[in-house]
Amino acid sequence: MPELRYRDALREALREELIRDDRVFLMGEDIGAYGGSYAVTRGLLDEFGRDRVIDTPIAESGIVGAGIGAAMAGMRPMVELMTINFSFLALDQIVNSAAKLHYMSNGQINVPLVIRMASGGGSQLGATHSHSLEGLYAHFPGLRVVCPSTPADAKGLLKRAFRDENTTIFIEHTALYGMRGEVPDDPDYLIEFGKANVLREGTDVTIVGYSGSTWQAVRAADMLEEQEGISAEVIDLRCLRPLDIDTVIASVKKTNRAVVVEDDWQFGGFAGEISAQLMEQAFDWLDAPVARVCGKDVPLPYNRNLEFAALPSEEDVVEAVLAML
């Protein structure tokens, strides 16, 4: 199986979908001539031309709205918003139109739109460029929310998003773009939405992550095994909507303990949702309260030391596990 970087796997998915379906086109800031802020779309303008790979003004609401209108008219657009922090400028279009139109129209209108954006801190870009807000989008019924943590998932989930009749918020992690991994070259390689991935099996505790935090969970599991002889199971949610809570519950019934890790803020966040669902559906199997390891409750600072302190680390995860055993 070929080894690709995360960004190259994303590009391969886009390229294959552009070839497969002529209703697919791409729109976004700097995606054409420049090749994308994270080099995901590099080369696609040359291959597919200006009708299908479209550089846009910096106008997030206009871009997303245009994607919605084109999707309503039968196209299969993908729009790129650079980072999730900038997507706030398009929030009305995403929430009030993309997420609601199917319901409001009694099923007449479909909005098969893929909205790509990058999430994740750690690059000293300050508070307007660095936040992870996957849980915000997961709040809205009507949206799919997908956040891959590996190159293979990046390809399989992105291709799957193009086959969906609903709008998918596709969130990539900035720290993962250079990550290498084996990726199937099958042009029909699809990963079903709402299927969590058990990355590592274990018996003492379940650590749940998604996107970049999956790898904090994995590294914490390694440390727990090496340093403490503790066997941790690691689950990558892959999708926040639809959510595969069943896989998490099955794991907790085996381990009786759970920690949820995410870069996003803890207060009102997605880790709280997982925690509540475990309380509702697996209360009798829990030997300790579900722990949350999340970003600190502050706008992300610019200083290296403070930014590092604001983001969850594998050490924080280890500490949370040790506190519940």
């Binding site: 086109f25 009708d51 479209i54 846009t56 003004p57 106008a59 609401s61 206009g62 871009i63 997303v64 709205g65 245009a66 994607g67 919605i68 209108g69 084109a70 999707a71 309503m72 008219a73 039968g74 196209m75 657009p77 009305d92 279009q93 009030n96 139109s97 139109l101 199917h102 319901y103 409001m104 129209s105 009694n106 099923g107 007449q108 209108i109 479909n110 098969p112 019924p141 009507g142 086959r163 969906d164 009749e165 609903n166």
Partner: protein
Amino acid sequence: MDTDRDTLIDLYLRMVRIRTFEEQAGKLQEAGKVPGALHLYVGEEAVASGVMSHLSNEDQITSTHRGHGHLVAKGGDFKKMFAELYGRETGYCRGKGGSMHISDLDLGMLGANGIVGAGPPIAIGAAFSNKYRKTRNVTCCFFGDGASNEGTFHEAANMAALYRLPVVFVCENNGFGEFTRQERHQAIQDIADRASGYGMPGVVVDGMDVMAVYEAAGEAIERARRGEGPTLLECKTYRFFDHVGVRGMGVVYRDDSEVIEWRKRDPLVLFEARLLEMNTASAGELQQLRERVLFEVEEAIAFAEASPFPADSALLEDVYTVTGG
């Protein structure tokens, strides 16, 4: 003037249909039969009628919170419309959308919209789809003077001109953004002036004169069909009723004398006089036509009142659509 008799009668009929629908809807609300917020189009009928008579079902429109008139002029079904206002199973959206969210994709009506300014980006997306597929279809985007201050309008206008999209921005300048007079919400008088800032023609037309709207809209729509790009068509009009509801006089934000002055230029009265003067139809024929429309509206109201509410099981249906292949 070489407009044929059928076209003239068609324009009159569209206006009568809107006026009758809106007056009856207003009465039903005052009688406590129709719930929610009704933003009635009375006074502005010439705009929707003059534009829509150039469009086929393959041409799209995006509408506004004040959208009944647009749908009626586009050929909307009175029965489904009243049933929607009543919140019934037989409504356009099974009563889930309500007055501000009616759509009819078969007519190319992409939706009324409860968010001021949400339509323009969606309109350019549909226009992009028409251009991409090399159809000669056009998208008309209705919005008001209030929405002309929203960033979304500016983003969409810029992109429409940049990509030379087949779209006509139809600004219904009724002098008020909700309850705030135009001179208190923007420093310009002619919104069409903004067109030059985006590199498109801007045209001002008397929105109470259906023939003037018909001619100006015809030119803009033909221009778009020829692939020459967008136009901003500003129609100066007036809202006889309140922003929401029926009351038009005795309100704090405008003098009754102003309403009385504008009512002297009622688009139906003006056009009726013209039809009589040109001997296009007799007073009796026009009377007959109005009675026929009233009968149709009354039938539709009876249909709506006899229709059931959707079952409670409808609540959770149509949040997501099924995945296509």
